[in-house]
């Protein structure tokens, strides 16, 4: 706010000139600066209370060995991290976490872009279809998972029933109790639940691509496939980068869908890092260790975040 003094003088590191520039501020400019500070103050306070404090607190907790019910603990320094990094559980969970994230995200993007392209066409009931497509995204995760669990059920599930009736299988498939079925099922349900987000974001972008670009491409001799790769896809690139970054972060920390569907099982095959955090904190009563897992997760997502910020900065320059 205060840096908005104006001419380049303010941006140079020369302290004398900076001081001069500051003096050159008119009364009105100073008033505006004060008003600016006042206006951002509420946001800064809320940010501190709900983001900065929990973050610092989590890092602090991760340096203790804490018994959850009493929240009493002893200082262990970086011991939690040391234990965590040599434990097999962290690495298998990270692996499951990455498989889940990459798998579900890829399917979300493919279904999402495909469906957006379909809904962008002049089809019958287009507006109705556009509203219906949002259904999985709006439905509560608990409800969706309960429905899917019934569909997947190996004894009464309709999926098995239909596949046996169709003669595709002779014996019911255990969708959630064996590997790799459990992981595939979780990934599919995740893709079903979240692809509408991709549809909406991509559709909004598709609608803003000027028709004249397609017309120019047609005159230049580009067929439908060439038009998709030379006009549509480059135009979607920026929105896809944003979608992938956001969904990668959201999918990486997904908890309820996996927890409710498989509970991390069979055994720990679909146990992703958020599930480990929950287990450590509330099943094993190790709040300190849970905080350490959470901090590690944050660091991994920070990598995504830095990549994303670098990317947007490069686009700007």
């Amino acid at each position: 706010m205060l840096a908005a003094v104006g001419p380049p003088a303010a941006r140079r590191p020369d302290p004398q000139r900076y001081a001069m520039a500051k003096q050159q501020q008119t009364v009105l400019e100073r008033q505006y600066s004060r008003l600016g500070l006042l206006l951002i103050a509420p946001t800064v306070l809320v940010f501190c209370a709900v983001i900065a404090y929990p973050l610092v607190s989590a890092i602090y907790l991760s340096l203790f060995k804490i018994f959850t019910p009493t929240l009493e603990g002893t200082w262990v320094g970086l011991d939690n991290y040391r234990t965590l990094l040599v434990k097999g559980e962290f690495w298998t969970s990270l692996r499951a976490n990455l498989i889940w994230t990459v798998g579900t995200l890829t399917l979300q993007i493919i279904f999402g872009v495909g469906m957006a392209l379909v809904l962008h066409q002049n089809i019958w009931f287009r507006s109705l279809a556009r509203s219906l497509i949002l259904f999985p995204y709006f439905i509560s995760t608990v409800v969706a998972v309960l429905v899917w669990k019934w569909l997947f059920n190996d004894l009464y599930g309709i999926l098995n029933h239909l596949m046996i009736s169709a003669g595709l299988i002779d014996w019911p498939i255990d969708y959630l109790g064996t590997m790799p079925n459990a992981m595939i099922s979780v990934i599919l349900v995740g893709a079903w639940k979240y692809f509408p987000f991709v549809v909406i974001a991509v559709l909004a972008r598709l609608q803003s691509i000027p028709d004249q670009l397609y017309e120019a491409a047609r005159i230049d001799g580009a067929g439908p496939i060439a038009r998709f790769f030379d006009v549509t896809l480059p135009q979607l690139r920026e929105v896809l980068v944003v979608i992938i970054m956001l969904r990668a972060i959201w999918d990486f920390k997904e908890f309820d869908l996996i927890f409710l569907l498989t509970g991390g099982g069979p055994v720990t095959s679909t146990q992703t890092l958020p599930l480990v955090v929950y287990k450590e904190a509330f099943a094993l009563n190790q709040m300190g260790m849970a905080a350490a897992y959470a901090v590690i997760m944050m660091l991994i997502m920070l990598v995504f975040m830095i990549l994303y910020m670098r990317r947007t900065q490069r686009e700007d320059t």
């Binding site: 000027p210 491409a217 047609r218 005159i219 230049d220 001799g221 580009a222």
Partner: protein, 377 residues
């Protein structure tokens, strides 16, 4: 030989008729303007030529083949869009090369053609820039380059200069004329700007309400407008058009309006006695002397001349050109005369046909040119 032919072309969007029974014969190498107000069907016509719209009925020929069912990319045409429609993620060079790439021109050959086109349009230093890093005029030249590079049979230009500022527009107009002379290709140019149409075209197709009103060289459109619409659309300031009536007396016609009458001389075979209109361009009025009385209402000084609006006794307004050294004050009484040799006569109605026998000229008085009669009132 006709290069582009539209025969009985109709285009309907639902119940709306955008183009009605259009017939155009465009000669090889001609520069044709499609001119008219918004919604007159000129852009639809161009888009049908491009293959972006399909005629409801009728036939379109380019060269020696009917192209109704030929996709845009195979019509041997290139189009420059009003918004330029450059591919934003491609550099200038890639934009220009794109039509060649889609036609599978080998890479080495492609590079040479792009370089040559860029050279011609002074784009060489910009080849590696992205469109958004260019000014409007530069983007315009890239769009032209993309059209020029594959040397198509016909160029289609959809209001290509309308997004440029006035000075650049004048410059690009000259560039386009020169380019047309150099390439000798058929060009079809859509514009609502009569100045562009007048200065650049070999012939102008004036359209209104989906119908072709006149298809003639610029001078003819100006001096012998086919009907009242063309007369009022072409020319700045516009032609003065006065409603009145025509009377015949032994082969000689007289036009009478409230406040004055004009000897129309001999008119063409379509002339009928009764309601009609007279049109006179500002240069056909003499302000300062004459039999008609009026009051100056408005004077616009353009520098090299003044545009003077005179109100006649019954509220009729006439616009004339006057020399810059004689400045009338608003409200000052003036006399006015009409040069009957320069008057056009039109049948009744907004697109009433022109009734004169010849082209009106200032230098060579036509058969209908005689002196002005006394004011009747």
């Amino acid at each position: 030989m006709a290069d582009v032919v539209l025969s009985n072309v109709h285009k309907k969007f639902g119940t709306f008729t955008a183009v009605e029974d259009l017939n155009l014969d465009i000669q090889q190498g001609e520069f044709i303007s499609l001119l008219g107000p918004s919604g007159c069907g000129k852009t639809t016509t161009l888009r049908m030529l491009a293959g972006l719209e399909f005629p409801t009925s009728g036939e379109i020929r380019i060269g020696d083949r009917v192209v109704n069912d030929v996709p845009p990319g195979d019509r041997d045409i290139a189009m420059v869009f009003q918004s330029y429609a450059l591919y934003p993620h491609m550099s200038v060079g890639q934009n220009i090369a794109y039509p060649l790439k889609k036609r599978r021109v080998p890479k080495t050959e492609r590079a040479g053609m792009v370089a040559k086109t860029a050279e011609m349009l002074q784009l060489t230093p910009l080849l590696h820039r992205k469109p958004k890093e260019l000014s409007g005029g530069q983007q315009q030249r890239v769009a032209l380059g993309r059209a020029l590079v594959r040397d198509p049979k016909v160029f289609l230009l959809d209001e290509p200069l309308s997004n440029l500022d006035a000075k650049l527009r004048g410059y690009m107009r000259a560039e386009l004329i020169e380019l047309h002379q150099r390439l000798g290709r058929t060009m079809v140019y859509v514009t609502h700007d009569q100045l562009e149409a007048m200065t650049m075209s070999d012939r102008i197709a004036v359209m209104e309400g989906g119908k072709l009103q006149q298809f003639a060289p610029p001078q003819e459109v100006y001096r012998a407008p086919a009907n009242r619409f063309v007369a009022s659309f072409i020319g700045t300031p516009g032609m003065n058009i006065v409603d009145g009536s025509l009377h015949e007396d032994a082969g000689r016609w007289t036009f009478t309006a409230p406040g004055f009458s004009v000897d129309a001389g001999q008119l063409g075979p379509d002339a009928r006695p009764g309601p009609a209109a007279m049109g006179i361009r500002p240069e056909g009025l003499t302000i300062g002397s004459g039999p008609i009385q009026g009051i100056t209402q408005l004077v616009e000084q353009t520098g090299h001349e003044n545009i003077t609006v005179v109100r006649l006794e019954d509220g009729l307004r006439m616009t004339g050109r006057t020399a810059p050294d004689r400045l009338w004050r608003t409200g000052e009484p003036v006399q006015l005369s009409i040069d009957a040799r320069q008057a056009h006569f039109f049948a009744e109605g907004p697109t009433g046909k022109r009734l004169n026998r010849d082209v009106c000229t200032m230098d060579a008085p036509g058969s209908n040119g005689t002196s002005l009669k006394e004011a009747t009132s």
